[in-house]
């Protein structure tokens, strides 16, 4: 019996045919904006793309290092709890910037927990364009963003899962899937439609089954319907990243309530252990590509080396802090970005932090004050925000 009579190889050939047919009809495909699970990313993307939001002038990018203080400041400033799923602006910055520059800007806070430069790049490439192109991107980074040894690959973050569906990422596959098995996984996904689109197809299948079961076996009427909180108790690992509306609040605080806790030292020790220079250079490459993309579209980038505590900085391997700072400075200079180095700034003390890396709302207000003042004094930023600037105006609202 030859290979042509082997049932297995005939099955593989038929599978390739079926796979191609499924690709042609785009079987089970769901829109990138269709978020089966609402996570911080889902809420932010939906809010950003909504028509009501219009075009923001200033977009904040970054991890929780940016998200937490920026949202926290607004809770204090507006004197009300801020719903993290819906509040994506910085009212405080808008007002401070107006005070310094006389210009009213509209902001959008795209800070997301765990956001890496790879994620920030995807946001910039796929979302911050056309009618949603901002004039200025403020990107706050910390050492963790470039040297998290707990992150297997850029594709492992929650933002990547959603953002990668908005466009083609093959040009960056060597950075997204650096290990051979990750690369194989990526290539198999490109080769076989059902594998590459298994998330979409399984979501569609899940919805179909749910809809059928709701008809065949409806949930019995009861006084106590099943809640998400109960589900979390039963399945702590299931849909871990899901955030419900009105579930994650930033609440107003007083200076007395803003206390420091170094509980995340252990976590960061693990994150900084066994520094992988390939991760560092790959994430720097994503940052460079973000800046290139923004520059090509006429968007000015303000890169901030975010303040972190000495305690956290001391956990870094010798020499890495200097390499990190030097890389940021060189990159910002070469790409024409504005650079705000607050990494070890004396303007911040340990009393401005809630833990070893995150500023609390008081520290956040200090950060936004400095940013508003510096941005207002930066002619490149002001020029980008100027609607009469001819070199930029031609790009306003236009696709690249």
């Amino acid at each position: 019996m030859g290979i042509l009579r082997s049932k297995f190889f005939i099955s593989v050939a038929l599978f390739a045919v079926v796979s191609s047919l499924l690709a042609i009809v785009r079987f089970g495909n769901i829109a990138p904006t269709d978020f089966p699970i609402r996570t911080w990313t889902g809420w932010a993307v939906e809010d950003f793309l909504s028509d009501k939001k219009g075009r923001p002038n200033v977009v904040f990018l970054g991890s929780s290092l940016v998200l937490v203080p920026v949202a926290g400041v607004d809770a204090d400033y507006l004197k009300r709890p801020i719903d993290g799923s819906h509040h994506h602006q910085s009212q405080y910055f808008e007002d401070q910037f107006k005070k310094h520059s006389g210009i009213q800007v509209k902001t959008f806070n795209f800070g997301l927990p765990g956001e890496m430069p790879s994620d920030a790049f995807l946001i910039t490439k796929f979302l911050l364009k056309g009618e949603k192109r901002p004039d200025v991107i403020v990107y706050g980074v910390g050492p963790r963003d470039f040297m998290d040894s707990l992150l297997p690959s850029p594709a492992a973050t929650d933002p990547y899962q959603y953002l990668s569906r908005f466009g083609d990422v093959t040009s960056h596959k060597h950075l997204i899937a650096p290990e051979w098995d990750q690369r194989l996984n990526f290539e198999l996904g490109q080769l076989f439609y059902p594998y590459g689109h298994n998330y979409d197809i399984s979501v569609t299948a899940d919805r179909t089954v749910t809809s059928a079961l709701d008809k065949i076996l409806p949930a019995p009427k009861t006084d106590k319907p099943y809640t998400i909180a109960e589900r979390r108790l039963l399945f702590p690992q299931y849909k871990q990243m899901e955030i419900g509306a009105a579930e994650a609040f930033f609440r107003p605080t007083t200076p007395e309530q803003r206390t420091f806790d170094n509980a995340n030292m252990k976590e960061y020790k693990k994150r900084y252990a066994h520094l992988n220079w390939r991760t560092f250079t790959h994430q720097m490459k994503f940052l460079a590509d973000l800046m290139n993309t923004a520059r090509d579209r006429g968007t000015q980038v303000i890169l901030i080396s975010m303040p972190i505590t000495d305690l956290n900085r001391d956990l870094l391997e010798k020499g890495t802090w200097d390499s990190y700072k030097k890389s940021l400075k060189v990159l910002a200079q070469s790409k024409g970005a504005s650079y705000l180095d607050l990494g070890d700034s004396k303007a911040f003390s340990i009393t401005d932090f809630m833990d070893t890396v995150h500023l609390h709302s008081g520290g956040g207000a200090k950060l936004l004050d400095i940013l508003a003042e510096k941005a207002a004094g930066d002619h490149r930023v002001m020029s980008a925000l100027d609607p009469t600037n001819s070199s930029i105006a031609g790009l306003k609202g236009g696709q690249l």
Binding site: F8, Y195, V209, A219, Y226
Partner: protein, 485 residues
């Protein structure tokens, strides 16, 4: 390296190609290297453990054969078995023993703080230690030793069966290594069919049921009695499809090299009594326990009570083999007790003289199948529970069922209330389907369907499985349950 991983997707075809391109005399060394690569990909240091035990057994067991006097043979056998058991004991039962000692001392008022030994259980140790013991006992019983070290080394380390069996017999396995087999496409067809079926059992069925089981056995207080019965049924099918899936992949992987390893399951849930169940469930372990524990203890030779004692000890130790915890011991003891009760029941029925008539009745047979399934399911509660406390809570829930049935309403069922994940309400349809499918498979077996299934059916099934597996295989599927043993 997991069978359901991308690493294995590369590893298996690579070894397969090298194997068939290599001359016959180099194939055993090739498989040996591949098997050590497979084992050491998890924790390289444990390669030394399996190699050390292999070398020790290879050097010691020939002394059993050479010894002239029976007394000396027994002595060397005892030493060899003890050595294997001590290694197993250190790695698997050290914490369990220390906990037991601590609890005992606590009863008499002594507070002993047990040292932390930093021991990580080596994968597959229970399986390869049992293979070594089998080898030593068989040589003691007069079977020949394996003269070639490479052949012997491949016997416990053969990668398809290395981590979770089936527990092989060296008389069946080693001679296959000497047959200069030529490549046949049938090996690929049959092997890959088994691998695909195994993956489907694991990924599509067992892993989905695992969600329900995990919730039920972590928070039994959240579920009603009827829910807990469904969750217990779900575990019965989860563990079957998980382990049978693993075995299929192991057998399929072996077949790609032209080697056959024993089957482990024969439709266990159509067993009509618990003895029958143990002839169908984890066959390679149950026959090992019979041959190397039950029979050496005296088997059925010493009268009723000694037989029952031997049965109980065998099953209790069999339970403990699964894991160093009281709930596994309780599961084994439960199996021993139900086997004894079954023997007593059969004897009583024979005495009354109605047994033959009843056996011939189909109603009795199917009622026995249903009853046996439930007896087995109650046992699974001990097996699945994390500890005896949870097992007690689940069993209490299960036995509340008459009250629940007396005032039944659908609103009692949490499985219908929980709509996300959807596997919960789907359970109401999936469980009967799985139960019925067991009988359908049995019927097809009896019709000899599996001996020569139609070509188109085989191809269609394989294509369908490829599609389903590529779509529904999650990024990280849980490990096979039997990997922990």
């Amino acid at each position: 390296m997991l069978f359901n991983s991308l690493q294995y997707l590369v590893f298996l075809p690579t070894v397969f190609l090298l194997f068939w391109l290599t001359p016959h005399r180099f194939r055993v060394p090739l498989l040996l290297v591949a098997s050590y690569v497979f084992y050491m990909s998890w924790r390289p240091i444990y390669g030394i453990l399996i190699f050390g035990l292999t070398l020790a057994n290879f050097l010691l067991v020939p002394f059993i054969e050479k010894a002239v006097e029976q007394k000396n043979k027994k002595l060397i056998l005892g030493f060899t078995v003890a050595l294997n058991l001590i290694v197993l004991g250190i790695f698997k039962y050290a914490y369990f023993t220390m906990d037991a000692v601590k609890s005992t001392l606590g009863v008499v008022g002594i507070d002993w703080s047990a040292p932390h030994l930093h021991i990580i259980l080596p994968l597959g140790i229970s399986f390869f230690v049992f293979e070594f013991i089998h080898y030593a006992i068989e040589v003691y019983r007069g079977k020949p030793v394996v003269k070639n070290f490479l052949d012997f080394a491949l016997f416990p380390s053969f990668f398809p069966t290395q981590i979770a069996g089936p527990i092989k017999r060296y008389q069946d396995f080693v001679p296959q290594l000497h047959i200069p087999v030529k490549f046949k496409w049938e090996y690929v067809d049959e092997g890959m069919q088994l691998i695909l079926m195994g993956l489907a059992k694991k990924v599509l069925i067992a892993d989905n049921l695992a969600l329900v089981v995990q919730a039920g056995f972590t928070h039994p207080e959240q579920f009603s009695s009827l829910d807990m019965w469904m969750i217990t049924y779900a575990f019965a099918f989860q563990i079957f499809f998980d382990f049978a899936g693993y075995t299929d992949i192991a057998r399929g992987s072996s077949l790609l090299f032209g080697y056959k390893v024993p089957i482990n399951f024969n439709l266990p849930y159509i067993a009509s009594n618990v003895s029958d169940f143990w002839r169908r469930w984890h066959i390679s372990l149950s026959t090992w326990l019979r041959d190397y524990l039950f029979i050496p203890l005296g088997g059925s030779r010493g009268g009723k009570w000694l037989t029952y004692r031997n049965l109980f000890i065998t099953m209790a130790l069999g339970g403990l083999w699964h894991g160093a915890a009281f709930h596994f011991l309780a599961w084994g003891a439960y199996q021993g007790i139900v086997l004894i009760i079954h023997r007593e029941y059969e004897a009583a029925m024979q005495k009354i003289g109605v047994h033959e008539k009843l056996l011939q009745s189909k109603v009795y047979h199917w009622a026995s199948v249903v009853f046996t399934f439930h007896v087995v399911c109650i046992g699974w509660v001990f097996f699945r529970a994390d500890d005896m406390k949870i097992a007690g809570q689940v069993l209490t829930k299960l036995f509340e069922v008459p009250t629940a049935l007396m005032h039944f309403s659908a609103s009692q069922l949490a499985v219908l209330q929980i709509r996300d994940p959807i596997i919960f309400p789907a359970l109401v349809l999936i469980l009967p389907t799985l139960m019925v499918s067991t009988f359908v498979v049995n019927w097809l077996n009896n019709k000899k369907f599996y001996q020569s299934p139609p070509w188109a059916v085989q191809v269609t099934v394989m294509v369908a499985l490829m599609c389903l597996l590529t779509i529904f295989t999650p990024d990280s599927s849980p490990r096979f349950i039997y990997f922990q043993f």
